[in-house]
Symmetry: C2
Subunit: 355 residues, 2 copies
Amino acid sequence: MAWVHADALERFGSELLVGKGVRSDVAHHVAAGLVLASLRGVDSHGIRLLPHYVRALQAGRLNPDPMYRFDRTATATGRLDADDTFGLAAGAEGMRHAVEMAGEAGMGAVAVRNSSHFGMAAYFALMAARQDMIGLAFTHADALMLSHNGSRAFFGTNPICFAAPCQDEEPFCLDMATTTVTWNKMLRVGEIEKSVPLGWGVDSEGIDTQDPARVTALYPIGDYKGFGLGMMVEILCSLLTGMPFGRDISRMYADPIESKRHLGHFFMAFQVDRFVDLVEFKSRIRSMMGEVRSEPPRDGEESVQVPGDPEKLNVRERTQTGLPLADVELQSLRDLADESALEFPNVSESPFTHG
Amino acid sequence: MAWVHADALERFGSELLVGKGVRSDVAHHVAAGLVLASLRGVDSHGIRLLPHYVRALQAGRLNPDPMYRFDRTATATGRLDADDTFGLAAGAEGMRHAVEMAGEAGMGAVAVRNSSHFGMAAYFALMAARQDMIGLAFTHADALMLSHNGSRAFFGTNPICFAAPCQDEEPFCLDMATTTVTWNKMLRVGEIEKSVPLGWGVDSEGIDTQDPARVTALYPIGDYKGFGLGMMVEILCSLLTGMPFGRDISRMYADPIESKRHLGHFFMAFQVDRFVDLVEFKSRIRSMMGEVRSEPPRDGEESVQVPGDPEKLNVRERTQTGLPLADVELQSLRDLADESALEFPNVSESPFTHG
């Protein structure tokens, strides 16, 4: 394990991409989005994805210099063709338009097409929340969610992300897959424990398995409810964008790396002060969060947390300690640096300072 | 058990309310919404609530002749003060404005305040879908959801409802509580089985119980995820409306029936054809539903269903058979008829015709 400062890693990622011909605004969102995910402890969607993105760029899957075409179809709605660029940049451009329309119309919604893997949904919803708006971000993904009463996957882990501004504290942010666990969490726990809990996933026959190597589909949360939420996300991201759905969605790793993903996303922003006084809203959400945290915990638990609290804690801690990287992750990032004759940031074998 | 035709029951409900001084547009939504819930098989939110609503009306909780104050704050946003009328009417008025704004701005969102219990969320989302829009409806409710890692409830069963239009078929409609089961389902299963499955609820100490009489809080779906979705709904319905939240929300039955509820709701409508061609959207959602239904079921299951399929089947069947009423429900509706000297619709001791 090694530690690298987040800001240094973000600068490195951005310079590396620019060096490979990626336009600077695109490179900025990719590096900033990946590093934010790592800071929040969402390592599956963090800086470890950079080498994969670079390979996809070099293979022609990702467009380094996209010509965005935004079509504002009404005062509050629009469509963005992302010209097959990195999903993190496509998503940021989509949310930027949603926020801009919300500034005029009170709210805005943007359907993004011809995009790619967009990383962590919170990156986009938080963009809205930092401008005192409520932000929502959705993406579809390739089939990984066991259909309710089915024996295989049809929809993806299709996440829902919601963020809202708060007084004197980072925004409330719920960012969740509609499956019980994410694919990467299943893999990580499987690697450490050599087994996963019953009820996480099924094998290729649709039979419950605890063997992580045999899992091909993950259970939705709440049976038909998570399945229905996944379908809702698919309707927004596939049908409102004109992109493929279900088992026709391309796969991030299993499909040839030169093939485009043709993914869709959906973003919404609302201006809080079109509904209530902004100061009062931010004060009340802070009270709500305080009340939740003061609720009596059940036996064996330390406290009741607000969704997003573990991520906030990670940000505070990792801003101090640096981002932890597994040896294999560090090596693949260093290989990228060498390949581009770029200096790699300082690496420490222990946390820089304890948070 | 007795059966009564849905349309006759709707007329009866509406006439009864008008006879008690309720304005006809308000009475229409209450009767139509309750009967639609019964038709869909959502009996907990169906016509059995009419006697409770009448008592609440007579006690002064519900305003029979509301002066709605709608404040359009931007082209796509507005606030509705529902003047303490029936939630079903308040919600319909809120969604009407959302749909109207969406017609101009591409989408519309309305925060409703000073409302009451709004029944089944699908009634409102389907209003939008029947006008070729995507509709979303949310309401908060009194504390009944066990907080994740907590020992008691803070948020309500806060439902999420999403509807979208479909070609040659009733709209797709997901209408779900963010708890594993609804309170009424827990009560019904408990009454029949004298026990409920482990994992549905906890007692007043926060300890798992299978005794339906001891359940005081219900588990959220997907642990922190359902809890987070419930908090999202609370932010929309409490904080964007200025209404109370969490344990400060009034209780439907336990609070004095003359006290106002001060509930909030949140509605959204999107015009599909601001994003993609409407005909293509409706055709593709039908294909998606067809593909889902053709997915291989797991052992022991007949088929994979689209969320909302059981409700569609109920509507088809109950339109033929009439609505089934338990004896006690029938009696309380007949008592209302007698009290108002109104003729009660034809009652059959068996289904009118088999669907």
